[in-house]
């Protein structure tokens, strides 16, 4: 039992939630990017989390999180009829991204809540370990 592993676990969680916030920021920034074809349109990116279970049998407590990859969603991009747009294709359609701003905001709130709870865990454990080190001192 190694209590200092808690810092590894919460550190990995903070990193993973930061990646998630990064993808939310990218998606919101590129929500209105236009392109001439459905294939080239910006697709919303989502991180895929996975637990690192290398020692799961011996030590179930040290399950770190890792970002297994970032996938692009397959929802169809939004298309608008705008024949005067410089990027319009042969039929006059312009393709925007498939980012759903409401979904991204919900993602952002969930990520920020997770981040804060992990920061709380880290602070609490740090204080308890410091108090343990002071044990026996007058």
């Amino acid at each position: 039992m190694d209590v200092f592993k808690i810092f590894d676990v919460t550190g990995s969680a903070l990193g993973a939630q930061t990646v998630r916030l990064n993808t939310v920021a990218s998606n919101l920034a590129n929500a209105d990017v236009a392109s001439s074809s459905a294939e080239a349109a910006y697709r919303s990116r989502q991180p895929v989390f996975a637990a690192v279970l290398e020692n799961a049998m011996q030590d179930p407590a040290s399950a770190k999180v890792q970002v297994a990859g970032i996938v692009e969603t397959s929802a169809p991009p939004r298309q608008e009829y705008a024949p005067d747009h410089p990027l319009a294709d042969a039929n006059g359609y312009v393709y925007f991204s498939n980012v759903n701003p409401v979904e991204e905001m919900a993602n952002m709130m969930s990520a920020s809540r997770s981040y804060q709870s992990n920061v709380e865990v880290m602070n609490t454990v740090k204080q308890l370990l410091l108090a343990t080190l002071r044990l026996g001192q007058p």
């Binding site: 996975a50 011996q58 399950a63 865990v121 308890l128």
Partner: protein, 131 residues
């Protein structure tokens, strides 16, 4: 024969280790609150403490051919899976508020055990000094 110091400190050091282990598990649960298919785990504290008190592990090895437990690398208590209160789309069973509450409670209990051990150490020191 247990030493005088072990007898004076009583159950508290073992309770401290168990609480630290439970905090590790809860921290791992909170870290994986968004991971798909992650199953939340926790320690049944009363059973673990009773087991530590009687000094009995679930398998005793009295012969050289007896195999050790798979989790004999220092894990003091068996981590059980938590039954989720509501189903979730991605298979994750972590209940973040419940885990946060359990973590806060365990942290308080850890601090209480620390304070009690500190007081007993102070009592032993003053007894040694003959005050």
């Amino acid at each position: 024969m247990p030493s005088v110091i072990d007898a004076a400190l009583g159950l508290h050091p073992q309770a401290l280790s168990l609480k630290a282990e439970r905090m590790e598990l809860l921290a791992a649960n909170l870290a994986n609150a968004d991971t798909p298919n992650y199953k939340a785990r926790d320690i049944d504290f009363k059973a673990a403490l009773a087991q530590a008190h009687t000094g009995q592990q679930s398998l005793t090895a009295t012969h050289v051919a007896h195999m050790p437990l798979a989790n004999s690398s220092g894990v003091l208590a068996e981590a059980k899976y938590r039954i989720p209160m509501q189903p979730s789309l991605d298979g994750n069973t972590v209940d973040a508020p419940a885990d946060q509450a359990a973590f806060a409670e365990t942290a308080l209990q850890y601090q209480a055990s620390l304070t009690l051990i500190g007081m007993r150490i102070a009592g032993l020191k003053s007894a040694i000094r003959g005050e």
